[in-house]
């Protein structure tokens, strides 16, 4: 696989994303492409897999391009890569495309499932699978494509730690002689499995290309400067002194019980949350972490008592913004059509116009969003959206901010930035409750850890 002097520009963009790109990948080589968000690593993968410009429109030029035809691609989002409702039909979809005879379909499908270790009947609804199983299904689909090249576009970015690790183990088992090109920002489990790592910078140029260990030894500074995850990234993570003091009691939850489709999902006997704590909430996928957030916010029907500052809370609006949730999909929280307005509408209620504008400016610059304040909130990157969503909380002067997996999908630079911001908020006396899967975050930062285990909310390690 080879590209020589390749240049790419999106239609309507002012500058090209890539210029003079040269890249060579040997047959059978396993390559990992890393880079900060916005460096175009997914775009590069789309070019190599032939999807761009054939399916995704863009202006592409090159002196020479030698690409494999019919490579198989695995994408990050399970919700937008499957076509059919059941496992069997989905796998059959690929075989139908390749005009496999109907008599061979079932046996082929079963052996592909066997290869990836997904032992489920063919009639299983895809929607009932966990994230990890869905990605296994995606790999099984790739195997059925009989391709000699695999392109993996952040296949584990939506999975938790253990699932991601076992998925990479499985992928390594099935990739055999194939050429494999991987784009991933969560690299700790794949770093040492590949032959070569390519590093892109913010301008979309290749700044380094080396074996995994050489990349770490020779290019450590470049990796850190670009804020790209690598196996030792956490050594550069911000360090704070954990606040141990117990502020005034804020929130009290008694005998809360959350039901889902008839059976009890989660019960919380007695939970006190004081001012100025950094709390993490952990638990397996589907254990009810997000539901807990919704229940405390009174956005969901539940039994039990929620008491805030000695007042029993029955409706969401009684919080008056003192308890503010940041959802996993920040898009769904936006209301206006500019980043500036999104914060401004909170402040205009408390200040006169010029003061509100000034304060909005301050909040935006604190969040590193000043340069994009005129853009539409749906247009900005995932990291920016998440910060904007925290910014909308600040307008209401919240006492507790509830964050649902805030570092999900962020590169190291943005993760650390967000952690610093959270620390500042905690210092100012805001309580943070943060749902997270990240082992490092759980171990480094919180002053208190909560965990959902067997349908009960528990303190981790004795707690406060």
């Amino acid at each position: 696989m080879e590209v020589v002097n390749m240049a790419l520009q999106f239609r309507g963009a002012h500058d090209p994303l890539f210029t003079d790109m040269n890249l060579q990948i040997e047959k059978g080589e396993k390559v990992l492409i890393v880079g900060p968000s916005g460096s175009g690593k997914s775009t590069l993968l789309n070019i190599l897999s032939g999807l761009m410009p054939r399916v995704i429109d863009a202006l592409l030029e090159a002196d020479h391009m030698d690409l494999p035809d019919g490579g198989a691609v695995v994408f990050q989002d399970p919700d937008s890569q499957f076509t059919m409702p059941t496992i069997g039909e989905e796998l059959a979809f690929i075989m139908e495309n390749n005009q496999v005879h109907i008599d061979d379909m079932t046996s082929n499908a079963l052996s592909a499932l066997e290869a990836v270790g997904l032992r489920k009947p063919l009639e299983t609804q895809i929607s009932s699978l966990s994230g990890g199983m869905k990605q296994k299904l995606a790999i099984a689909s790739a195997l059925l494509q009989k391709a000699d090249t695999f392109f993996l576009d952040e296949p584990t970015s939506m999975l938790d730690e253990n699932t991601a690790c076992s998925l990479w183990e499985m992928i390594q088992e099935v990739w055999e002689e194939r050429t494999v090109v991987i784009v991933e920002h969560r690299v700790e489990h794949v770093w040492f499995r590949v032959d070569r790592i390519i590093l892109l910078n913010d301008e979309g140029c290749i700044v380094a290309s080396a074996t995994p260990s050489e990349m770490l030894s020779d290019n450590r500074e470049a990796l850190d400067a670009l804020g790209v995850w690598h196996p030792h990234s956490w050594q550069n993570a911000p360090r704070f002194t954990k606040s141990t003091d117990n502020g005034a009691p804020l929130l009290q939850i008694n005998d809360l019980s959350i039901n889902r489709v008839g059976s009890e999902l989660l019960s919380v006997d007695d939970l006190h949350i004081p001012k100025g704590q950094w709390i993490t909430l952990e638990g397996e996928n589907g254990s009810g972490k997000s539901s807990f957030m919704m229940a405390v916010m009174k956005l969901m029907q539940t039994r039990g008592e929620v008491i805030f500052e000695d007042r029993p809370i029955r409706k969401t609006k009684q919080f008056q913004g003192a308890l503010y949730p940041v959802f996993q999909n920040p898009e769904l929280q936006f209301i206006t059509n500019s980043v500036f307005d999104e914060v401004f509408i909170n402040l205009e209620m408390h200040h006169d116009e010029s003061a509100a504008e000034k304060k909005t400016g301050q909040v935006l610059s604190r969040m590193g969003l000043s340069h994009i304040k005129r853009l539409h909130p749906l247009e900005i990157s995932t990291g920016q959206k998440r910060r904007l969503s925290v910014a909308t909380a600040l307008g209401g002067i919240p006492q507790i901010i509830f964050l649902d997996e805030p570092t999900f999908g962020l590169d190291a630079r943005h993760t650390f930035k967000l952690l610093e911001l959270i620390h500042e908020l905690v210092e100012d006396g805001t309580t943070i409750i943060m749902i997270t899967h990240d082992k490092e975050i759980k171990e480094r930062y919180p002053s208190r850890r909560l965990k959902i285990h067997n349908g009960m909310l528990e303190e981790v390690g004795g707690g406060v």
């Binding site: 999106f10 239609r11 309507g12 399916v55 059509n337 539409h376 749906l378």
Partner: protein, 192 residues
């Protein structure tokens, strides 16, 4: 030019999915208006335009022959899936309304995104099924004032909801930048 006119897989998928979004919204908000039906003064007709807002919005963002028809078919089948009602009438009505929209769009040769085009398409769709209703619902045997009320509400709804509102939604969508995915760079520049 030839390439632009053929429907791609993306075009078809976007068309169907957009229609589904409207179907979901309609089944939530529409329930409220069904509650007004027993009064018999056709207040439910005021939201009737929501039924063919999808083809107009989809036309504005894709502008190719056939999308309005597919959108209406999708909206009708979404009803089947969301509310578990297989209603032949809805599907037949949907196809007629889709064809009415297509007719208006064909007249402007699938080029214009003007407000007037959207309003005309909405009105055309609203009018298109009145003949069928005439026979099915015995409209000839209705008190005249009631008949005028029904037809009036429906045409108003077609023009305002399916036409004017669809156009507002299209303009707002342009601002979000998502239509770049469908190759609408010029339109976005113009809007900005």
């Amino acid at each position: 030019m030839k390439k632009r006119k053929a429907l791609t897989l993306t075009d078809v998928l976007v068309t169907v999915v957009v229609s589904l979004v409207f179907a979901v919204i309609y089944s939530v908000w529409g329930a409220f208006y069904t509650a007004l039906k027993p009064l018999g003064i056709h207040l439910n007709e005021l939201v009737y335009g929501m039924w063919f807002i999808a083809p107009v919005v989809v036309y504005l963002i894709i502008r190719k022959p056939g999308v309005a028809l597919i959108a209406e078919f999708a909206a009708a089948s979404a009803e089947t899936i969301v509310l578990l009602q297989f209603d032949v009438m809805l599907i037949i009505y949907g196809l007629i309304q889709g064809l009415a929209c297509e007719l208006v769009f064909a007249i402007v040769r699938y080029k214009s995104t003007a407000l007037m085009v959207a309003v005309s398409a909405g009105t055309a769709a609203a009018l298109s099924t009145l003949p069928l209703d005439w026979y099915y619902g015995y409209l000839a045997h209705l008190e005249t004032w009631n008949l005028i009320l029904m037809a009036g509400f429906r045409i108003l709804s077609g023009a305002v909801v399916a036409g004017w509102l669809a156009h507002i939604l299209y303009r707002a969508l342009l601002e979000t930048g998502v239509l770049k995915l469908l190759g609408q760079y010029k339109e976005i520049e113009k809007e900005a």
